[in-house]
C-alpha cells in the first residue's frame, strides 16, 4: 500500500486492523495542472539531490571524491564498493576500533530491546487503564498523557547520576548502584523510560476502542484479566503495535543525544550515530569514509521505512492528528 492509501485509512480514524479501506476516488482538477506538475517535479528532484550526491560519493574512490564534485561522475564514471568495506571493517580517521560494524551492532542491540520492552509495558498499562480499570484510572491516564510535555533533556543529569552512583537519602542507599554506567543496558533502559508517555498514549487510543463484546465474552467464559491480555488484547492490538514499533525503532536508531549522554565514556556501548558524529569532525579529508558510513546508518531506517510505510504513516497520524 502506498503512502496515499495509508493516509486515507489512517484519516478515517477508528482501528482498522485489516487495513482494507480502498482509496477515495477524486475528480482530477484541470486548472494549472501543468504548472503544479512542474513545481512538484522540481521540488522532488531538489529534495532527492542531496541524498543522491551523498550516495554517489560513497561509491567513488577517495582521490576522486576529494578532488572533484560528485556530478562529474556522469562524465567520468568510475565506481567502487571498497569504501563500504573500509568503513565497516577497517575504520581509520576518528573511528575508534576497527570500523563501524560493531557500532551498527550496538545500535541494533540498543534498538531491539528499546522497541520490544516499551511495547509490552505500555500495552499492559493501556489495557489496565482502559479495561481492567480502577477508581482513578482516568486520572492516572491523564497524568501519563501529560508527561509528554517533559523534555528528556530534563532527565539527563539526574539519570546519569543515578546510573553511576545509585540513589541515597541522607547516606542511606534507596536505589542500588547497578554498575550500569557505560553499558548498552543504560542506553536502552533510558530509551524505554523516555518512550513511556507516547507509547501508553498511542496504545491506549487503540486498545480502549477494541470491541466490548469480545472482552465481555471472555470474562463470562471465566477468563482471568491477565489471560485476556495475552490471548485477546495483545493479538487484536497488532496493527497499533506495529505502528508504534516502527516509530520507536526509527527514533532509537536515529537518536544522538541519549546515545551520546549515556555512552560517551565507553566506546563499547556507543550507537553508530555517535561514532558518525565524531567522524564528521574530519569532514573534507575523509569524504570516502564519511559518506559510506553515513549511508550505512541511513540504509536501515530506509529499508524499514519503505517496506513498512503504511504502518509508519499511520503511527505518525495517530500521534499528531488523532490526539
Amino acid at each position: 500500500m502506498s503512502v496515499d492509501e495509508a493516509v486515507v485509512v489512517a484519516a478515517e480514524g477508528a482501528p482498522d486492523p485489516a487495513g482494507v479501506h480502498a482509496g477515495v476516488q477524486r475528480k482530477p482538477v484541470k486548472t494549472h495542472q501543468g504548472l503544479a506538475t512542474l513545481v512538484i517535479v522540481v521540488m522532488s528532484i531538489l529534495w532527492a539531490l542531496p541524498v543522491l550526491g551523498f550516495f554517489i560519493t560513497s561509491l567513488r574512490s577517495k582521490a576522486a571524491a576529494d578532488d572533484t564534485g560528485w556530478w562529474t561522475v556522469f562524465v567520468h564514471p568510475s565506481l567502487t564498493f571498497s569504501n563500504y568495506i573500509n568503513v565497516l571493517f577497517h575504520g581509520g580517521a576518528n573511528i575508534q576500533g576497527g570500523g563501524l560494524f560493531p557500532y551498527a551492532m550496538n545500535s541494533l542491540a540498543i534498538a531491539i530491546p528499546a522497541t520490544i520492552i516499551p511495547i509490552i509495558v505500555a500495552s499492559m498499562a493501556a489495557y489496565s487503564l482502559s479495561w481492567v480499570r480502577f477508581k482513578s484510572a482516568d486520572t492516572v491516564y491523564f497524568i501519563i498523557f501529560g508527561l509528554q510535555v517533559v523534555p528528556l533533556q530534563m532527565s539527563l543529569v539526574p539519570l546519569l547520576q543515578l546510573y553511576s552512583h545509585g540513589a541515597h537519602i541522607g547516606g542511606f542507599p534507596i536505589f542500588p548502584n547497578l554498575n550500569l554506567h557505560g553499558s548498552i543496558a543504560e542506553v536502552w533502559i533510558s530509551h524505554t523510560m523516555f518512550s513511556m508517555p507516547l507509547a501508553v498514549f498511542l496504545l491506549y487510543n487503540f486498545i480502549a476502542q477494541l470491541p466490548n463484546e469480545l472482552i465481555e465474552a471472555a470474562r463470562v467464559d471465566g477468563a482471568g484479566y491477565l489471560y485476556i491480555y495475552r490471548r485477546v488484547v495483545m493479538p487484536l492490538s497488532l496493527p497499533a503495535i506495529a505502528s508504534f514499533a516502527i516509530f520507536q525503532f526509527l527514533w532509537v536508531w536515529n537518536d544522538l543525544l541519549i546515545g551520546l549522554t549515556f555512552s560517551a565514556k565507553s566506546a563499547s556501548a556507543q550507537p553508530i550515530t555517535v561514532q558518525l558524529q565524531q567522524l564528521s569532525g574530519t569532514f573534507g579529508s575523509h569524504l570516502d569514509l564519511l559518506t559510506a558510513g553515513g549511508f550505512v546508518t541511513i540504509i536501515i531506517p530506509m529499508i524499514v521505512f519503505f517496506s513498512l510505510q503504511r504502518y509508519f504513516v499511520r503511527g505518525l497520524l495517530a500521534g499528531s492528528v488523532k490526539g
Partner: protein, 329 residues
C-alpha cells in the same frame, strides 16, 4: 574472528535482556493468574500498570523535579561543594550576551522552521493530489523523515562544503551559485547569520514531508459534498481553499505547527554535528548540552533545561486543548 564474537556477544545480550524480561513477566502472570476472587482485579492492575509507573517515576518524574532543584545551585550542583545560588543561573541565561543571543536565535528557529515547513507541506499536499506518479513524488519528499538528524547533517554539510574559488568545487551549493555567476561565494557555514539559515534548511527539509502527509490526510478527509456545494456556489481555486478547506483543517494545521515547533525547540543533533554551536549558530538545546557536559556547569545547564521545559509546556497544552475541543464538540 574478534569482530564476529563481539557481535555475537551483543546479540546474545539482546536475547538475554528481552528474554529475561519476558520470562519474569510470564512467571508473575502465571502466579497471579492463580488468584481469583476479590484480590484478582487489584493484583492484575498492580502487575499491569506497575512497570510503566515505575519506569515513568524513575525516568521522568523524579529526575525532572531534581533538575528543577539543581537549577538553583552553583556550578558544582552535585557533590561536596554544593552552593545555592537562587535565581542566579536564570539571571545569567537572560543577561549573558552569548546565552541571550542563543535564546533569541532559538526563537528565530521556532518561528521560521515550523511556518516554512507547514506552508511548504501544505503546498505540496495540494499540488501532489492532482498529479500522476504522485506516489514517487510523495515518497521522495517524505523520505528525509526516516533519516537521522546526524545523517541529514552529514548530507547537507557535504552540500555546503567550501573550497576556495580557484579549485574544482565539491560542494553542490558553491558549484551551483558559481555556475550562476557568483564567482566568490562565502564559506557558507562560517558566515553568520547566513549559516543559521542554512542549518534551518536542513530541518525544513526533514519536516516538510511530515507536514505534507498529515495535512494531505486532513484535506482528503474534508467531505466531498462540502467541496461540491462550495463549487456550485462558485468558489474555486484559492478562494475554495481559503474559505472552505483551510477552516475545516485548522485544528490539524495548529497541531502540525506545534509538533514541528516542539521538535525545533529541542533541536540538538544538527547544530552539534555541523558547527558545535560555533560561528554564532548555538541553540538552546545545544547550549544546555555544552554547559553540562563540556563546561561542567550543571547548575546553568539545568536552568537551561528548565527554560526549555517552560517553553514546551504552553505549546503542548495548546495542542491538547485544541484536540480535546474538536473531539468533544
Amino acid at each position: 574472528m574478534h569482530l564476529l564474537t563481539t557481535s555475537l556477544d551483543k546479540l546474545l545480550s539482546v536475547i538475554e535482556a528481552v528474554g529475561g524480561f519476558v520470562a519474569i513477566l510470564a512467571f508473575l502472570f502465571w502466579v497471579a493468574g492463580k488468584v481469583r476472587g476479590r484480590f484478582e482485579k487489584p493484583l492484575a492492575n498492580v502487575l499491569l500498570l506497575g512497570p510503566a509507573v515505575i519506569l515513568l517515576l524513575i525516568g521522568l518524574v523524579i529526575p525532572a523535579i531534581r533538575t528543577i532543584f539543581l537549577s538553583f545551585r552553583g556550578q558544582y550542583a552535585i557533590g561536596p561543594n554544593v552552593k545555592y545560588v537562587g535565581f542566579a543561573n536564570y539571571k545569567w541565561a537572560f543577561t549573558d550576551p552569548h546565552t541571550l543571543h542563543t535564546l533569541l536565535r532559538t526563537a528565530e528557529w521556532l518561528v521560521i522552521v515550523p511556518v516554512v515547513s507547514t506552508v511548504m507541506g501544505m503546498i505540496f499536499s495540494i499540488l501532489v493530489d492532482r498529479m500522476r506518479f504522485q506516489v514517487i513524488a510523495k515518497s521522495l519528499i517524505f523520505m528525509p523523515t526516516a533519516i537521522s538528524f546526524v545523517g541529514a547533517s552529514l548530507i547537507w554539510q557535504y552540500v555546503y562544503q567550501y573550497r576556495s574559488p580557484g579549485l574544482p568545487q565539491i560542494g553542490l551549493l558553491s558549484e551551483v551559485v558559481m555556475k550562476l555567476g557568483w564567482s566568490h561565494p562565502p564559506n557558507w557555514l562560517l558566515s553568520s547569520p547566513l549559516n543559521t539559515f542554512l542549518l534551518m534548511v536542513i530541518l525544513v527539509w526533514i519536516e516538510t514531508g511530515f507536514a505534507m502527509v498529515i495535512l494531505g490526510a486532513a484535506i482528503r478527509s474534508v467531505p466531498d459534498d462540502v467541496i461540491e456545494a462550495a463549487r456550485v456556489d462558485g468558489a474555486k481555486g484559492w478562494r475554495l481553499f481559503r474559505s472552505v478547506q483551510l477552516p475545516m483543517i485548522s485544528t490539524t494545521v495548529t497541531v502540525v505547527l506545534i509538533t514541528i515547533m516542539t521538535a525545533t525547540l529541542k533541536i540538538f543533533d544538527i547544530v552539534y554535528t555541523i558547527t558545535g554551536g560555533d560561528f554564532k549558530t548555538d541553540t538552546l538545546s545545544n547550549e544546555m548540552y555544552t554547559q553540562i557536559f563540556e563546561s561542567f556547569n550543571t547548575g546553568r545547564g539545568s536552568a537551561l533545561a528548565v527554560i526549555l521545559f517552560m517553553a514546551v509546556v504552553p505549546l503542548v497544552t495548546v495542542s491538547i486543548f485544541r484536540l480535546r475541543r474538536e473531539r468533544y464538540a
